[in-house]
């Protein structure tokens, strides 16, 4: 009996080895994440999503080579150079951080390697330049989210807003995008305050906002740092509407904020309210499958950041079969064809929304990539 089992497994082993034999032509994808260091909360779900990426596309096996950059932009450059020169990858997914991504665009472009960046800042794809042609971004642009928030503010008659954001590129870009949008709609920006993620007290910023007494407050901060400004305002007695960006879209927001974040409005992808969106939403099934697979593997629900990497895999899955017509994996022709094919992706449903990429828009989301969500009874609830 044992001998038989052994023979069968040997046979299968041999078959598997045989199938993997033309592996020299396989597609190689590098993944760079910040799974350690200050932005590890972004990088860890991204690294954990790599095993869920498609391993076989268009008859080619896909190999993923994962590196950690420790949240350090210099290490990101080193990781990119290693992937490009030593591993000769066909595409790179990553890095996790916006400053890290800005620093490696030129290396990806010089080597002609398409780069799928799951980062927040729109600056990696806008304004489009010769180098940024090689960059694709798998997150919603800030202005798409800001537009949804502004529309809601206008609807419920908010005339003035206070802004609290982190003193980093995330807060900078939000202040810029939101300020412009607010001016267009005649909403006054009364105060803008900044803070650091590790600040132990936001009393002063809260007081400054309170003394300006705006109708609503927008908090732009990534991850759990978005909670402290809001709870501080609550403790100081502010009871106006509080808006959050998609940076707050993670389960810990509710855990840390408790009843003090009740009634918050934010716009983000549908991942937080999967069970409430109608089945007709093109992303629902894909996102549910991803969340289930991630939960099975890691024992916890993924933060949105992981889904951004998963989406990069879906984009590659769509583009690789087209690119294979342009050349063998590992060649410059294949990488160029891959870039062209990515740019042609149309109506691709993914976990975050539906991608429609063009030569000018390398992020490619429309309003299907955002949902207006509120906190009601301690749970994320879709705003109908």
């Amino acid at each position: 009996m044992f001998a038989k089992k052994l023979a069968v497994s040997l046979l299968f082993g041999a078959l598997a080895a045989g199938a993997a034999a033309p592996a020299d032509a396989q597609v190689k994808v590098g993944v760079v994440t910040s799974s350690t260091g200050p932005i590890a909360l972004v990088g860890i779900p991204q690294k954990n999503s790599v095993p869920l990426l498609p391993t076989s596309v268009g008859g080619q096996s896909v190999q993923y080579i994962t590196l950690d950059d420790g949240s350090d932009p210099t290490a990101t450059v080193a990781a990119f150079k290693k992937l490009i020169t030593e591993e000769k990858v066909d595409a790179i997914i990553g890095p996790s951080g916006s400053p890290n991504a800005m620093g490696v665009i030129q290396f990806a472009a010089e080597a002609g390697v398409p780069m799928l960046a799951p980062v927040g800042t729109a600056a990696v794809v806008l304004p489009m330049t010769e180098q940024k042609k090689w960059v694709f971004k798998t997150t919603q642009n800030d202005d798409l989210i800001a537009e949804a928030l502004l529309a809601h503010m206008e609807k419920i008659g908010i005339k003035s807003v206070g802004f609290i954001g982190t003193a980093d590129p995330y807060g900078d870009n939000w202040l810029k995008v939101f300020g412009e949008g607010a001016a267009k709609r005649g909403i006054k920006l009364l105060a803008s305050e900044r803070f650091q993620r590790q600040d132990t007290s936001l009393t002063a910023q809260g007081l400054k906002i309170l003394s300006a007494s705006p109708d609503a407050v927008l908090i732009a901060a990534p991850g759990s740092s978005s909670v402290l400004p809001q709870t501080t305002l609550y403790d100081q007695g502010y009871r106006g509407k509080v808006y959050q960006t998609h940076g707050a879209a993670l389960p810990d927001f509710l855990k840390l904020g408790g009843k003090k974040v009740e009634g918050t409005i934010l716009a983000a992808s549908l991942m937080l309210v999967l069970d409430q969106v109608p089945d007709s939403h093109p992303s629902k099934k894909i996102a549910s499958d991803y969340v289930a697979a991630y939960e099975k593997q890691n024992g916890s629900k993924p933060a949105t950041f992981g889904a951004n990497v998963y989406d990069a895999g879906l984009l590659l899955e769509r583009a690789i079969p087209v690119a294979l017509k342009g050349g063998e994996p590992g060649s410059a022709a294949f990488r160029g064809a891959l870039r062209d094919a990515l740019e042609q992706v149309k109506e691709l449903p993914a976990t975050q929304g539906v991608y429609n990429l063009t030569a000018a828009d390398h992020s490619g989301f429309d309003e299907r990539g955002r949902e207006l969500i509120t906190v009601s009874g301690g749970k994320w609830t879709l705003v109908k």
Partner: protein, 345 residues
């Protein structure tokens, strides 16, 4: 800017300043006794806060494993040291007790759910974990090089800090946490509401400072520590073990650090790497005290707290710049008024 805002900012500054003062005192204590700049001081703060939060949130408390590993390393080093000294390996009772204690505490924190045990019990367990951690850190990393140049000790401190931050990420994860306040409500003084946690912070800080004062002025061990701080060689000659002095100062620093962490955990969100920036402000306070004077260091730390609070109100983007720029005039003034008196090291 009216009276009420001034009072609120002042209250905020005092809360933070009290914590910075505690950290300044412990950094100063460790430096004067051992000449080690305790960069990992902040990790005691963050680990204590996150351990409390883990107990309350019902997530696994993993700090015991770190303590167990360090205690085991300390035991191995003790055996090795005995071997080199006497030519045969011998196990000291103290190191066995240390490992046993760590194992018992690890078992307690892993097997017993402490979520509903009450804040006092949780705080005690947290301190019971962190104080021996300070001891073990000294034994494993600093004791073998206790006589080295202060610069070497500083570099080791930085290394220990970086490693501990990495371990912190593994133990607590990247997300921030905060704990339940000790008590709800507050005290109304005229038109200003005093936050209950502020009262806790100030009361515990004052109590601790008084306790330290009594310890150093009245007790034999305290006097021995002061003697070791004043003159290391002289203290050794009159029979004060530098090893004991080092361990005692680290245990005190860990105690103060863990108390600070437990105190601020309900006020703010603490991340695995939050400790450094908090202890850095304590360090600025200690620098204002010239790394020598306890009262000046405590006052300096309170000043940092106030400067931070008010500068945030006027220019929130430049807060850290303003706070850390404060150190420049102090250094200039000190270097002008002391003509190279500290060059002996």
């Amino acid at each position: 800017m009216n009276f009420q805002i001034v009072m609120l900012l002042g209250q905020d500054g005092i809360t933070n300043g009290a914590i910075y003062a505690l950290l300044a005192l412990s950094i100063l204590l460790v430096f004067t006794v051992t000449r080690i700049l305790l960069i990992p001081q902040g990790e005691f703060v963050a680990f204590a806060a996150l351990t409390m939060a883990a107990m309350q949130g019902g997530t696994p408390v993993r700090l015991g494993w770190l303590l167990l590993a360090l205690s085991a390393a300390a035991m191995v080093m003790d055996i090795h040291a005995a071997w080199r000294r006497d030519g045969r390996p011998a196990v000291r009772r103290g190191s066995v007790l240390g490992v046993g204690y760590a194992a018992a505490l690890t078992a307690l924190t892993t097997l017993v759910p402490l979520g509903d045990a009450g804040v006092a019990v949780q705080a005690l367990v947290t301190m019971a974990l962190i104080v021996p951690l300070g001891l073990a850190l000294y034994r494993v990393f600093y004791q073998p090089i206790a006589a080295a140049h202060p610069l070497v000790l500083l570099i080791v401190s930085i290394a220990v800090h970086v490693v501990l931050v990495g371990i912190g990420l593994l133990m607590f994860g990247p997300e921030g946490a905060r704990t339940e306040p000790f008590s709800d409500g507050g005290l109304r003084l005229g038109m200003v509401m005093l936050n209950s946690q502020t009262i806790w912070v100030v009361a515990v800080s004052l109590g601790l400072i008084l306790g330290l004062y009594l310890f150093f002025e009245r007790s034999l061990y305290g006097k021995a520590l002061r003697a070791a701080a004043v003159n290391r060689l002289g203290a050794e000659l009159v029979g004060i073990s530098p090893e004991l002095a080092g361990k005692a100062s680290f245990a005190l620093a860990a105690l103060i650090g863990s108390l600070s962490g437990i105190l601020i955990a309900p006020i703010t969100t603490i991340y695995y790497d939050s400790g450094f920036i908090i202890s850095l402000k304590g360090f600025v306070g200690a620098i204002i005290g010239g790394l020598a004077s306890y009262p000046v260091a405590a006052l300096g730390a309170l000043l940092i707290g106030q400067a931070e609070s008010f500068s945030t109100f006027w220019a929130s983007s430049y807060k850290e710049v303003i706070v850390f720029t404060l150190i420049l005039p102090v250094l200039v003034w000190r270097s002008l008024s002391h003509h190279g008196a500290e060059d002996e090291e």
